[in-house]
Symmetry: C2
DNA sequence: CAGTCTTATGTGGTCTGACCACAGGTTACA
DNA sequence: TGTAACCTGTGGTCAGACCACATAAGACTG
């Protein structure tokens, strides 16, 4: 009965099982596609469909050729797949920008709160964030470069929090927003003036974190995010709890 | 120069563009694979690799046969892809359970806070949540059935909040946790006693929401989640902000 | 004529075989 | 000994074939 699990699903399950049961770990090579196909009793095309999924999900990296560098390698790269997923969900109108922003508010508020509280008890490595902030002071930045650094700053905070899940989700949210931007649905109103304010707010956020002022940091970052989106022309079709 | 974008990426980009520019909307049919291949100048196998990605990401649904019901259909089903993604990230050890739980705490805390505040101003449809709670009172439930209802309850709250992004993320987090469970990494310590407490806490959470007591609801749900995971034997390799 | 049965058509699902380009190792030659 | 040519294994891609399935169109039967 061929109506069972589809062939590519068999491959995906096999890889997942190998991962869970320790036969595969980050850094390991998957067998060659042809070997995988023979071992699992499926065609090479089915194997390739499964590998493509794993690749988009950010679990493997592939390289052609021969030797140690070639083949599919397990890479646990949180965030890779999340970005593609959220961007496409936005494109398919499954996600609304207001929901994305709200999620960002919640997660980033948690991040800076945790970071600030951690700062009260021990040193926290915020060098990367500070470095990005310094780079943002350059007067020769284009709007696109500035926004890229802005993204990096916020992601560096997530990274510093050490929570891979939140970091990956944040990366996905940024990617979703950039999807809107690419579609021309989001543009900043008055750029030069805004950039100065954003810089100021960034410094304030980082200062509050390092001072261990958790509430101040949270409020600052949430105001920062809200303010940013308020200035963009994102259609704010906010979703609210369903009423009856 | 054949080292350009890979063929399947071309297909993925084309679909994403069609989505963004309104040529494709939820409910629409994609052209048949063979047509898509001919139109984009790639082989059918490449088209299939792209479609497989879209399917796993939850953007399309496919059906064999002919007629109106067959073919690939755009479906904006938030949550579908997130589940696969997070489950696999867990398998590949990119995500740690402590991070998953932390994210759940943050997001679910936000959900119930919003719901409670919404209840203060207008009626909110929490019928589904209440219904699930009622079903959980059945004395004939197995542990697996109970846990499935538990998942449904928490997801129904997310749904009621109306935020698709958070709902999808929550679904992914549950899926990740279930991945741990399948791997035998998480088992409840003392089942029968726990179930009674969980039921009680569920009722408390819903009551707090409906009473509009935002803080109480938030604290209750966070205690509920923390308590649950404290009783499981999940290896709690908590991640903390990086120190230097 | 109405209803059912058979057949045709279109679709996804899968496999096989064939190339190509590329990276690395191996061998032959200067 | 050092370099160049070749060989091998790998992913990337395509074309073609076949199957199973769902629907639609036509043929048959009462």
């Amino acid at each position: 009965m061929p109506s069972g699990p589809r062939a590519w699903q068999v491959v995906l399950d096999a890889v997942e099982r190998d991962l869970l049961e320790g036969r595969l770990s980050p850094g390991d090579h998957l067998p060659p596609e042809r070997t995988l196909a023979a071992d699992l009793g499926v065609g090479r095309s089915s194997v390739r469909e499964a590998l493509r999924v794993l690749e988009v999900l950010g679990l493997i990296r592939t390289a052609v050729g021969s030797g140690p560098s070639a083949g599919a390698i397990i890479v646990a790269r949180p965030g890779g797949g999340m970005s593609a997923l959220m961007r496409l969900q936005v494109a398919a109108q499954g996600f609304e920008v207001a929901d994305v922003v709200k999620t960002r508010l919640v997660l980033e508020g948690s991040i800076v709160t945790d970071l600030a509280e951690a700062c009260r008890t021990h040193a926290v490595d915020l060098a990367e964030s500070a470095q990005i902030l310094a780079a943002m002071e350059s007067p020769t930045l284009t709007e696109a470069e500035f926004l890229a650094l802005d993204t990096q700053f916020h992601l560096s905070l997530a990274q510093a929090s050490g929570n891979q899940v939140i970091t990956a989700t944040m990366a996905g949210l940024r990617s979703a927003i950039e999807g809107y931007a690419r579609a021309g649905l989001a543009t900043l109103a008055s750029w030069p003036a805004t950039s100065a304010r954003l810089r100021l707010e960034h410094r304030g956020i980082l200062a509050a974190i390092m001072a261990g002022e958790a509430d101040a940091a949270r409020l600052a970052v949430q105001a920062h995010i809200s303010g940013y989106y308020a200035e963009t022309q994102l259609a704010s079709s906010s979703s609210t709890p369903t009423t009856r």
